[in-house]
């Protein structure tokens, strides 16, 4: 839609507002009056792809463009099973065929600029897209050097593998090349970060691999915090399946790493202890994906404050942000949260373009973690608005005293969850 049409739509809405007998005008109104408009979505992960799909489902007349550099999007969730040898990397990949078949214009490019006044997005290479509503689902970027010595170059030697892709393959390769009797050191970040149970599931799956392939090896987790997601369940599972293979060092026991020497695979803690790794996995401090900063929607924390009812930016009108980039606590930064938030934002965008108020939002999050094959645990919450803010209405973690049938069922449901959310997000079957 051109700028002039955009103007005329607004002018028309204003006219409707003022008219006393607008009903007759409305019935004869052209297509754009039914709530069509132009939406640009940046990011093709759980948040962005879901938003594009659900906007189209709600109103096919809306012109939706999705901007995502990757032709195949690889998910972070379930890469831990790849480290455990339970899944191939290719199983993590999802294409955009369903979105295209629904009429979404998918552009494989990198969004490098946003002009919120002109309402345009600039692509690397120079093309410009105009929007009535912009939805950013940029995920995370890393705060390079916020942890001394850990920058992009260091990540080639000590992979983070906290974005799926080459980094995942690199960490897997390091793990496979490690000698039996070596030490896998994980540096775990302080809150908030992408996927709160992720580091601990990763450790579980690395332990599974080591137990069966390099049983003399050890895992050391150096953690910048004193507690973590599903901690009791993880620790009980580790003890049962991996004995003393895994050692967790919390913040209060000098677990916080302050310096990384990637070339020598050593790290130094707050109180001066040095640890030498055979494989070093550093999960660094994070922030919202860079395009959010460029768009001016981040705050001093580096994350994006949003209106809880719609996920529209608190700072910039007509820009919506979903997923890991946002400040949406108590919702965790997870693919599930991003998908749930994207549906709420999609409905709010569609309503707004139609001149309607947003619907009452509702969200859920369930994160399954696999400790060993056939042994899964979960955390699940229901979130709704309370006094205008996202609040936990109910939820919790799997019971501590559950039997093995229950754990097996949750391991199976974890796989079924991945199948369902992949289908719901990209329309892909795995």
């Amino acid at each position: 839609m051109s700028q002039s049409m955009k103007f005329s739509r607004r002018q028309w809405l204003t006219t409707v507002g003022k008219a006393s007998a607008a009903g007759a005008v409305l019935l004869a109104a052209p297509a754009f009056a039914r709530g069509a408009g132009k939406v640009v979505v940046v990011g093709g992960g759980f948040g962005g792809a879901t938003a594009a799909k659900y906007i189209k489902r709600r109103n096919p007349a809306i012109d939706v463009t999705l901007v995502e550099p990757a032709k195949t999007y690889y998910t972070c969730p379930f890469t831990n099973l790849y480290f455990g040898g339970l899944r191939t990397f290719e199983q993590q990949g999802h294409n955009f065929d369903e979105l295209r078949s629904m009429g979404v214009r998918v552009i494989h490019a990198f969004a490098s600029g946003v002009d919120a006044d002109k309402k345009t997005v600039t692509l690397k290479g120079g093309d410009t897209l105009s929007y009535d509503k912009l939805l950013l689902a940029p995920g995370i970027d890393f705060r390079w050097n916020a942890l001394e010595g850990y920058d992009e170059a260091a990540s080639k030697l000590a992979p983070h593998a906290w974005k799926a892709g080459e980094q995942s393959k690199l960490l897997k390769q390091h793990l496979e090349n490690m000698r039996d009797g070596g030490t896998f050191v994980m540096v775990a970040p302080a809150n908030p970060f992408r996927c709160p149970p992720g580091p601990y599931e990763r450790v579980s799956m690395v332990a599974h691999y080591l137990k069966h392939n390099k049983p003399k090896s050890k895992i050391l987790i150096l953690d910048a915090k004193d507690a973590f997601s599903k901690q009791g369940l993880f620790q009980a599972g580790w003890k049962r399946f991996y004995g003393d293979l895994i050692e967790w060092v919390p913040l209060s026991k000098d677990g916080k790493v302050v310096r990384v020497d990637a070339a020598n695979l050593t790290v130094e803690t707050e109180f001066g202890q040095t640890h030498k790794a055979d494989v070093l996995n550093v999960i660094p401090p994070q922030k919202a994906g860079t395009i959010a900063e460029i768009a001016g929607v981040t705050n001093e924390s580096g994350w994006v404050p949003i209106k809880h009812q719609t996920f529209e930016s608190e700072r910039v009108a007509d820009i919506y942000v979903v997923g890991d980039a946002t400040v949406a606590a108590p919702m965790p930064k997870s693919g599930f949260s991003a998908n749930a938030q994207a549906k709420v934002a999609a409905a709010a965008i569609v309503n707004s373009l139609a001149g309607k108020p947003p619907a009452e939002p509702a969200f859920a999050n369930t994160c399954y973690s696999l400790i060993a094959p056939d042994y899964g645990i979960s955390v699940a919450h229901n979130y709704q608005l309370k006094d205008g803010k996202i609040a936990e209405m109910s939820g919790g973690v799997s019971p501590a005293d559950a039997n093995d049938d229950f754990r097996k069922l949750e391991a199976e449901y974890g796989v079924a969850w991945y199948q369902a959310i992949a289908l719901d997000t990209w329309g892909t079957r795995s």
């Binding site: 409707v16 507002g17 003022k18 006393s20 607008a22 009903g23 005008v25 409305l26 019935l27 009056a33 039914r34 709530g35 659900y54 489902r57 709600r58 109103n59 096919p60 009812q309 599930f336 749930a340 549906k343 709420v344 409905a347 309503n351 139609a354 001149g355 309607k356 108020p357 947003p358 619907a359 009452e360 939002p361 509702a362 969200f363 859920a364 369930t366 979960s378 699940a380 919450h381 229901n382 709704q384 209405m393 109910s394 939820g395 919790g396 799997s398 229950f406 069922l409 949750e410 449901y413 796989v415 079924a416 969850w417 991945y418 199948q419 369902a420 959310i421 289908l423 719901d424 079957r429």
Partner: protein
């Protein structure tokens, strides 16, 4: 379903337009069962049609769905309940009734949905 949404959208706009700008600008949130149901699809599949071992909920009888949801919410959930007890407790009975009705009205397969529309 899309048609229904669009028609109700037009109806709401028409109402808003007839009532004047005040109602159109009201910040009162709407109840929209499709938004409430959005969070179900993450595990049960889009429109409640599951591709895996989590049960499909599309096209099951409303009474059965409602009974099952209320059973999850009760202090004695059915044997084998995992996450549903934790998730459902935070919904009101009215919300659960709306969800049961919503999913009962969706066809079990997309093909059946197309036939029903014609």
């Amino acid at each position: 379903m899309h048609t229904a949404i669009r028609i109700s959208g037009i109806a709401a706009l028409a109402l808003a337009a007839l009532a004047g700008p005040r109602l159109a600008a009201a910040d009162q949130p709407l109840f929209d069962v499709t938004v409430l149901a959005g969070a179900c699809a993450n595990c049960h599949g889009t429109d409640g049609r599951s591709p895996g071992s989590i049960p499909s909920i599309a096209g099951r009888p409303e009474v059965a769905l409602k009974q099952q949801l209320l059973a999850f919410k009760s202090d004695t959930p059915p044997a084998g309940t995992t996450v549903m007890g934790r998730l459902v407790k935070g919904y009101s009975d009215e919300q659960l009734s709306a969800l049961a009705k919503h999913f009962s009205q969706i066809s079990k397969t997309p093909a059946a949905q197309e036939v029903a529309k014609q």
